[in-house]
Subunit: 273 residues, 2 copies
């Protein structure tokens, strides 16, 4: 295949559910000409409370589904899958380039506050593996990192309760539980959490910087495609396909909030894994 | 097989996760001599936000796993699976007797308040099918039923946040959303919700009766086994086996709260479906 034909192929974006749409949105803003195909493994979400073996199996199946559609690069737009299964995915998909969200998020945090005190809010599985702690240490050995599992924030975002007193109280409780750490940055270590950005910013101490992986992941994708000579040229906006493994109606309803515009269930194709 | 040998077989109890342990606990209290085997499909929980087709497929696989172990009766200790897949399970497992939790819960509510105004708190899938509305109407045509989806209550119970201000605020919000109904009973239409019983009772108007399926399901199981001559005799306490499809450590930690005593991960056997 020539580079010209390859550059027409979509970028594949994969998440356990709809949260990865925050990353897809950032990629679409940074690279509007790119064709995109998104797969949400809604039949088996959430990944964050499952075992590493299950997460790796599920992620590999989802990635293979996207590879079978023909893609030029795979984005693992799920912190849990990135934390648990990135090496396995790179091996299984080789020579396809695979970009996770943990390393870009860690790099963004290290850049935002060199030698800083970082608090990572993430799922149970991501925290258990210390994924962000290791990735930040690789960029900035002076940094001090605490990771905290916040499953209720996933439910809040899914329920559409990202603002208001209940969201504030839950965020406050998680920040209180990590009391004494006095972070200067808070890393949104789950793709659901950008929906809670305003609430977290509001509850956190003044001056705390919020960092998420979405825009830095988009930067990494752009640089990777540029290096490989596979950026799609021309002024035409790229296409978007949305695949889900279950519940097109729910995907459309919740996913619209993440993508920032309304979706209908007919925008979502159901697939089996 | 003679009835004597059959009566030694365990009762199989199945749920998407740990919530069904509230039903298992009630069965153990009502029938302490019975051998019990529990399967939590933790690799694919929660069921409550998934599509009927997925729920039916998952439930049938889980039930077949228990049937293969040798059981004398199957309890579907999951409201969502009972609402969506009970007919399919009865057909697939025949002639094994299959007991769901929706009909016992509905009967308990109708008995508690004949001609009453019932509010059912349940998962999205259970509400979408109107499972309790239909089951209560079959017992008591005069009853007025409203059903309300309360996904955040599942997360609260899983996170171990069943008491305190956040739990109260979330329960209050769901009750406010069903405002104007003025229920005289509230049906805990998800096996996670008995953990929130005190909080819900506290937030609800004085005099509102809380109903759950656990003890009435245990009554139905006892009557069914008695009718079939399969109650296990003798004063020896029965055995208990716990199976899960993922995450024995998490199952033990969260499940202990539901069962009312500590569990260790070595008490839980991992199985594949």
């Amino acid at each position: 295949m020539t580079h010209d034909i390859q550059s027409e192929l979509p970028i594949g974006v994969f998440d356990s559910g709809v949260g990865g749409l925050t990353v897809l949105k950032a990629i679409r803003e940074a690279l509007p000409a790119e064709n995109l195909i998104y797969l949400g493994d809604t039949a088996r979400l959430p990944y964050g409370t499952k075992s590493p073996a299950s997460i790796e199996r599920y992620a590999t199946q989802a990635a293979a589904k996207l590879q079978a559609q023909g893609i030029k690069l795979l984005v693992v737009a799920c912190n849990t899958a990135s934390a648990v299964a990135l090496d396995a995915l790179r091996e299984a998909m080789a020579p396809l380039r695979v970009v996770g969200v943990v390393e870009p998020g860690a790099a963004a945090a290290a850049r935002a506050q060199p030698g800083g005190r970082h608090l990572v809010l993430a799922t149970e599985a991501t925290v258990r593996l210390g994924a962000y702690r290791k990735a930040i240490a690789a960029c900035d050995p002076q940094a001090v990192v605490r990771e905290h599992a916040c499953e209720m924030l996933v439910s809040l975002a899914e329920e559409g309760w990202s603002h208001g007193d209940i969201a504030r109280a839950i965020v406050q409780r998680y920040l209180d539980e990590s009391d004494g750490h006095n972070p200067d940055t808070i890393i949104l270590g789950c793709t659901h959490f950008p929906l809670l950005r305003d609430t977290i910013q509001d509850v956190a101490d003044e001056g705390v910087i919020l960092v998420d992986s979405a825009s830095t992941t988009a930067d990494v994708v752009r640089e990777a495609l540029r290096a490989d000579g596979m950026l799609r040229g021309g002024g035409e906006p790229g296409s978007l396909r949305l695949l889900a493994t279950d519940g097109a109606t729910r995907f459309a309803r919740v996913g619209g909030q993440f993508l920032g515009h309304d979706l209908s269930y007919s925008d979502v194709e159901l697939v089996d894994l």
